[in-house]
Amino acid sequence: MLQDHIRNFSIIAHIDHGKSTLADRLLQMTGTVSDRDMKEQLLDSMDLEREKGITIKARAVRMQYTASDGETYELNLIDTPGHVDFSYEVSRSLAACEGAVLVVDATQGIQAQTLANVYLALGSDLEIIPVVNKIDLPSADVAAVAGEIERVVGLPADDIIPASAKTGTGAKDVLEAIVRRIPPPSGQQDAPLRALIFDSHYDPYKGVIAYVRVVDGQVRRGDRLRMLSNDKLTEAAELGYFVPSLRSAEYLGTGEVGYIATGLKVVVDCRVGDTITLERAGSAEQLQGYQPVKPMVFAGIFPVNGEDYPLLRDALEKLTLNDASLTYEPETSGALGFGFRAGFLGLLHMEIVQERLEREYDLDLLTTAPSVEYQVETTDGKTTPVHNPTEMPAPQRTRRVLEPWMQISIVAPSNHIGTVMELVSKRRGEFSKMEYLDENRVLLTYEIPLSEIVSDFYDQLKSRTQGYASLDYSFGEYRSADLVKLDVLVNAQPVDALSLIVHRDQAYNRGKMLVERLCELIPRQMFEIPVQAAIGQKVISRETIRAMRKNVISKCYGGDITRKRKLLEKQRAGKARMKTVGNVQIPQEAFMAVLRLDGEEAARR
């Protein structure tokens, strides 16, 4: 395909605003997928993606479209992950495009994450085609949303395409706009190969498959390749494009989007954002914007049954083949035994990994409350990253503790400003600014410690705004803070997996709530169990779980014997699922108790 007949674009949209449906329509209208093979959310192939209605892995598809000018164009749609946890991946996908279709729900308006992604796209100099979707809904307010797009994003209302991806209205206009408004790729055909990796996945037969945009030059099957970030050498055993499944080809030309089967064994060697060039006479110049991703959130993952440890290790190994942003290292907990401390991009990423481990590898897992990476300066002058409260050095050895702060933006209905403000200030957040998007909606910007949003911040935000608020965040800086380690003792035994790091001002409250919550979650046992929260040696809160007095089958006649035996077996199985710490059986939910502290408090009010 001639370079000036290629158009590379992605679609930016908030969850449920219709990105996948619009993609489905474009695939149908260009005849890329026959009506017979059409299924909803065609590009989202993971079960989790379909269930959650989100895109987790980036994907691409090539379409042939004959425009009204009579010419046939090659349109490459790069479908990007829709969640803030994956904003780096989004930025790389956008970098592989010259344009983006911005889809906004005509009944809901622009949301925080959309805005963040639009700014990313504008920053990469992308041509943006605004589309107001769902105009078929009775509550659609096209004019208001168009006005909002004009004001907030600065796109003229005249350029906005009204559409209904569901019915197909406007889809043709979107295709025409892609051809007319988005510029063709501008790379140098005769320069040495530079291909941008915007995603990769591991294939058991072909090794790591890199999803690439050829920026300069071209790549042929059999070419010897070099990864610029790590000098790994490999060969283009197979390459081709997406239909959306893989279709092999002889070469990929300048400006084209496709895949290269690299034969590499792990995706870590083929990182998103890296540049592929030729081994000989290649380019030495890395494409801009590459950065190795860093996990932000850490949690312990333990098998409920200790004997599943090797299975968990294998499962994590396999997942990291495909997920370069997941890190893990072995962790031993006095309470939970052998497991791993894993690092994630964010909470959604953590949830996805946990669900995939449980579903795809059939593991029963216990995940501890998430933590962040603290930088601890010790009295010997060293600075160490701490991912796990139990690794926190003793207070007398600690000179200073630094914690990560985030910049967050929240879009919320203006009548909820008060409650959002209250939530953020309770979580030590600092107000930066407030902008009205229209008379009813505001964009609030804050700085806030990451540790305060990794618990149930998003849930709280949603419940306080009746589900209307949206949230975006990005890393800001490390700041020093007066943090202490809060330990929990159950029956006088410290339970390491329940330790947490809190701000000194919150320690008393958190300790009290945690202890109360644990007393509700830990079932009564045959003896009295004191539950305490302590900072160092000092107990700051204490409650007692009274001894169980009654666990009896009151009557047991002929017809009851088998049934009651099953009941006993069920009780016993329930106990087996708990973790025994000292001689106390602790149910799994207790290890996540700390996550729900504020939720509890809110429920009680």
């Binding site: 009564r524 045959m526 003896f527 009274r546 169980m548 007095r549 009654k550 666990n551 009896v552 089958i553 009151s554 009557k555 047991c556 006649y557 002929g558 017809g559 014997i561 088998t562 035996r565 006993l568 077996e569 009780q571 016993r572 106990k575």
Partner: protein, 389 residues
Amino acid sequence: MQTPASPTPKKTDRADAGLYVHIPFCRTKCVYCDFNCYAGENHLIPQYVAALCRELEMYGQRSWRATTLYLGGGTPSLLSAGQVAAIVDTARTALDFNPGEVTLEANPGSVNEDYFRELLDVGVNRVSVGIQSFRDADLKRLARHHSVADAVDAFASARAAGVPDISLDLIYGLPEQSLAAWRDNLVQAMALAPEHVSLYGLVVEEGTPLARQVARGKVSPPDDDLMADMYELAHEVFSASGLVRYEVSNWALTGHEARHNLVYWNNEPYIGAGAGAHGYLGGCRYSNELLPARYIRRVEQSELSVVEREPISHNLERAETVILGLRLDAGVSAAAFHARYGEDLVDCYGAVISEAELFGLLEWRDKRLYLTERGRLLSNEVFQRLLPE
């Protein structure tokens, strides 16, 4: 392994078993009830009794001998004395049942003195009255259709008719029931001077209307501590009236213990006859077809109506013997255990026993193993550990 379909004892002479006969008919269904019983099918009773007799004959052909007879339900007192007579007589002729203990569960509201006289004439010598509570509000909440007056009446009628053994059923842990209300209940029960009392701690069984009410938050579930207090209070009150506890939830004047129920607790064989009845014969627990109409059809075709059977392994039987035996105040005798299984009780369960002793749940006295007072209320904790993996 013998199956209950052919539970023929090895020897030519008959083997002993308790006989439980289920009468699955009720006028209405109670709110906590998860038994096999049906309201509005009383027209089936004559056919049903005929089928029961046929079934007893089939067990007779398999050379069982009935040692006790218990008519439970449902509401056995919906049967006429003539129908009860047919069952008792068939047990005698077919199952070599020598006039022993014959119990019938009677529900207040469906009985009077004449009825009890007729029952005595046909061989019933023990009546269990399902009073449940001496407070009308409780009865109403449980959707029992009798009143306290009906219950007291039923008891008095049985007494006046001369029934020698009367047992009362009481439920504790009812929604909204206070300890004071429970005490009042106990006092009223003792005023009737029953020979025997059975306690039933309310359990919210899945699938019952009560469970739905609890799930919807309309009724608060029974509180464990309060129920423990209620149990202890009951024991205190019964003991003061001369009733002796012989099983975790049963009290009797000495010599008036329920012999039929002792068959269960001694883990001995019993025949389960009738729709939904459970039996334990030839090392196998089994249960019958639940629906009365289907039960009748199957028995009319001269087959036992067994639908489920579970062979009990040696290890499980041993464990059940200990679990059921510990429910008895007589405890488990190490010597009797050895005589029955040729194994030493401590060799089999030493670890569990010592752990339970440590927690104060079990104790040894004169080479017998007993639940402690605390252990009675926490017996599940012991029993869970006794069950084989």
